[in-house]
């Protein structure tokens, strides 16, 4: 398997506070990679650096073999559901996706938008303005936006946040389908049961440093724990 996400010794500070400290990680093509950590551990900052939204103070990042410098080239290869989920409240869901499909220069935008809205379960609400959407519907729309260019590498920051149990299940199934179709998924979440169900590899970050990475079995063996929750507590509260 080829390495599609590679971060080497990346660091980022906000003033005196070191948000990410000398972090290195590697994700192989087709992996469902879980990225865990307590609040303020540096997950979102790491994702922002990996997706080119923020520049690291030190270190290098390669996505799909290219160094993260050319943001345009990078943005065509990846799909991102970020932590900040600003929407244009006056647009309908359909208009919003059509706008982003236009930015990506998608040829058959109408069909792409319609099928994406159906995939994320917003087909019935596509003509409602986003201002009238619930938190869960916004989350689905954000996911659809991340998929609008049919990327092979997905960065998802808390994708099931605000969704009801059925919504969580739908999104998990969609992500599993995408992963089975060959997409690499970089998945950040606080929901450990979700991560253990979906992810083939897990990395845990604490206070800006990567404290462990490996398969769930390997991490359980390493910490002498019997599930991901125990692994998480053992590694983040040593």
């Amino acid at each position: 398997m080829a390495e599609v996400i590679s971060a080497s010794h990346i660091s980022k500070s906000y003033g005196d506070c070191k948000a990410v400290d000398d972090l290195s990680l590697s994700v192989q093509s087709g992996e469902f990679f879980g990225f865990l950590g307590p609040n303020g551990a540096g997950k979102t900052t790491t994702i922002r650096m990996l997706t080119g939204i923020m520049r690291p103070d030190a270190g290098t990042i390669h996505i799909d073999g290219h160094e993260v410098r050319n943001r345009q080239q990078l943005s065509r290869a990846i799909g991102v559901l970020s932590e900040s989920r600003g929407f244009y409240g006056w647009m309908t869901g359909e208009e919003y996706l059509r706008f982003f499909a236009g930015l990506y220069g998608i040829a058959d935008a109408e069909r792409t938008v319609s099928s994406l809205l159906e995939e994320v379960g917003l087909g019935e609400h596509k003509r409602k303005t986003i201002g009238a959407y619930s938190r869960g519907m916004e989350q689905r729309l954000g996911l659809a936006r991340a998929l609008v260019n049919r990327p092979q590498i997905l960065f998802l920051d808390e994708p099931t946040l605000g969704l009801d149990p059925q919504g969580q299940e739908d999104v998990q199934q969609l992500l599993r389908r995408l992963n089975q179709g060959g997409a690499t998924v970089f998945y950040s979440s606080h929901l450990l049961h979700e991560v253990s169900r979906l992810c083939s590899m897990v990395a845990i970050i604490n206070q800006g440093r990567l404290v462990a990475t490996g398969t769930l079995d390997a991490l359980e063996r390493q910490t002498g724990s019997k599930d991901l929750q125990s692994v998480f507590f053992a590694l983040t509260n040593p």
């Binding site: 922002r48 923020m54 520049r55 943005s75 990846i78 991102v80 970020s82 600003g86 929407f87």
Partner: protein, 255 residues
């Protein structure tokens, strides 16, 4: 992409009635000014050329005020609504982003100009200055709108907040028009002259006086007024480049 961003902003403006409200306000200002010129005892005694000069100043001032206020929210709203991150996760260049927003500011200026045109035509009837007034208003309006919009955009990238951007931009705009408050004695002072030679609005109004009151219609006779304005636009362009460089260095999200 430029067209996409432009149409998005126009739809947002129409949806919130913001743009239409501005056009209504400018239309009212022009109507009241024209009405006063015809009915107010002192104003109606003005020469037609003086009246035209006054109207052109009103048109440009109203347009600048509207464009500066409206443009202040064009970029800052993307920061404040946190939509900027999604935009730049798409393959959108900073150049396309700025040009798209600039096109919106110019659309608003063009609409204000269209609203103003009938007032110019009616007020200048019989003076043989209609074309000159329309032409110079378009030229100076476009250049001042360009300069001030570049300033607003630069400040938007530095502050990333509507309140600070609006306050700073309006302060600069008001400071540029401060010489209008000078007494005639003060206007002759070395300070006022020095200020007048570099102040874009002073040069615009002086040039319009030259064209409309003194009949110096040719562009060559107005180059000395035009050059400081072009210089102002160049300085603001440099300021915007600095702001964009700082923005690229800092990253799309604030540290």
């Amino acid at each position: 992409m430029l067209r996409l961003l432009w149409s998005k902003e126009l739809k947002a403006g129409l949806y919130t009635w913001k743009s239409l409200a501005w056009l209504l306000v400018t239309s009212l200002i022009f109507s009241v000014t024209s009405y006063l010129m015809l009915t107010n005892r002192e104003l109606s005694l003005l020469d037609q050329t003086e009246m035209l000069w006054l109207l052109s100043k009103v048109i440009l001032s109203a347009a600048l005020l509207v464009v500066v206020i409206d443009s202040s929210s064009l970029i800052t709203s993307e920061f404040e609504q946190e939509t900027i991150e999604c935009l730049f996760l798409a393959p959108l260049t900073l150049k396309d982003f700025v040009l798209g927003k600039l096109a919106v500011s110019f659309t608003l200026w063009a609409l204000v100009y269209l609203v103003a045109a009938p007032y110019v035509i009616v007020t200048s009837a019989g003076s043989q200055l209609t074309c000159a007034m329309l032409g110079y208003t378009a030229l100076y309006g476009s250049l001042t709108v360009l300069g001030f919009t570049l300033l607003v955009f630069a400040v938007s990238f530095f502050y990333r907040s509507l309140r600070n951007t609006l306050t700073t931009s309006l302060t600069v705009l008001l400071a540029s028009s401060i010489s209008a408050l000078f007494s005639s004695g003060l206007k002759r002072s070395a300070f006022a002259r020095a200020l007048g030679s570099i102040n874009p609005l002073d040069n615009v109004f002086a040039s319009l006086d030259n064209v409309l009151v003194d009949y110096q219609v040719s562009l060559g006779r107005n180059l000395s007024f035009l050059l400081p304005l072009v210089g102002f636009c160049a300085v603001m362009f440099g300021f915007l480049l600095l702001a964009l460089r700082a923005f690229s260095r800092k990253g799309i999200t604030k540290d």
